[in-house]
Symmetry: C7
Subunit: 81 residues, 7 copies
């Protein structure tokens, strides 16, 4: 079974799938950051986070609850902040 | 029936569908925010809101009534503001 | 007949269709606004307005007559200004 | 024949087709404006103008003769300047 | 034969085709301009110019020889500078 | 076998494939840089890096662990930093 | 054979193909320039260069070795710098 998985090379969205239900840190193009629990994503890297917080320079700017982030705003996603 | 729903992983637009007829807060790329009642959306995340208000730093700039927001302006959507 | 309409959920462009021949207010990405009578639109949200006026801070900058606005400039459209 | 035409709702590019061989005013995203005689267009709203002139604040900056404008630079087109 | 050609309306890229092997002036989004002899183009309006020169305010900044310009940088192309 | 490989010209993503599991340096559009071990990529040049570090002017700004970079932020990728 | 080649008009990417294994100069949207030996390209004008150097105002900022440049950053490519 390990060998079978090796036959299809892993792709970036597979890494995102492994982060489901786990905390992630999102860096946005406007320099702000958002942390939260990854609930779902699609191929445009649109994301839904639970317990989301908007951060600037590591400080919580505000609590956002559940949010849908449009993928084109994202610079990177770190599954283990 | 619950099990059937679990077989297709939830996607971000499903979360938007659950927010229909409910209040949402929209963060735009120009830093402004818009609140309103979500009436409809499509796959580009174009949205129609009723009772929309334009906000800046939490203050109401003006009342807009019903508006259609073009999806490419949106940073995030918070279904529970 | 009401039930039939309920079977297809309404989409944002349906709202635009209901605004045909009615006054709309357009907010552009460059902060300017344009008011006019909606004459037609397409799926890119390209719009044709009659009796269009360019506004800044609520003041008429100039009268434009009939114009075609390229959809990618639009932030939002308010069908009831 | 009038009734037949009414069966297909008019679209924005139809308005552009009616402006062929007529003067138009183009507002560009960089705030400049270009006037000229519309010679042709395509679905990306790429345009060819004859007798084109580049304008800023209503003054002619320079005469350009025939030009092809790439559609993604355009804010709006006014067929009756 | 003239009548046959009239049956298909001319499109912007036809104008570009007629400018092949002729001098053109290109206005770029960064305000710079490039002159040269149009050698080829494609549907994205990617262009190859021979004897290209980069201009700013009408002065030659430098000679570039043959260049391929990526179409998305272009504001307009003037076939008769 | 060498001849067979020569029959299909190499493409940019082939170079990325050869860099898998190796250190790469990423230049982003916001001038920041990110170094890490390339774990996977896709045709949009979305990338997953392990042991990623954010750099500015060659100094480590912070350690990021595993990250997914959205491809549209990337200027260039250097497989041998 | 010459006549056969004339039957398909040359396209911009053909010019890039002729520059393979030759020195090229790349102008980027952020005003920087990169020189190197063109190793491969694709239809998005993603490029791989060997012996790449980042230049500003004609001075070498740093040596980059092999790099993959994402095509959407490119203003123009000069095959004979």
């Amino acid at each position: 079974m390990t060998e079978q998985r090796n036959q299809r090379p892993q792709r970036p969205l597979d890494t995102l799938g492994q982060a489901n239900n786990s905390p992630v840190l999102i860096k946005l193009k406007d320099e702000k950051e958002i942390s939260g629990i990854l609930q779902s994503f699609d191929m445009h890297i649109n994301l839904v986070l639970n317990d989301a917080e908007e951060l600037e320079n590591g400080e919580v700017l505000r609590r956002l609850g559940t949010i849908l982030i449009r993928g084109d705003n994202i610079v990177y996603i770190s599954p283990s902040p």
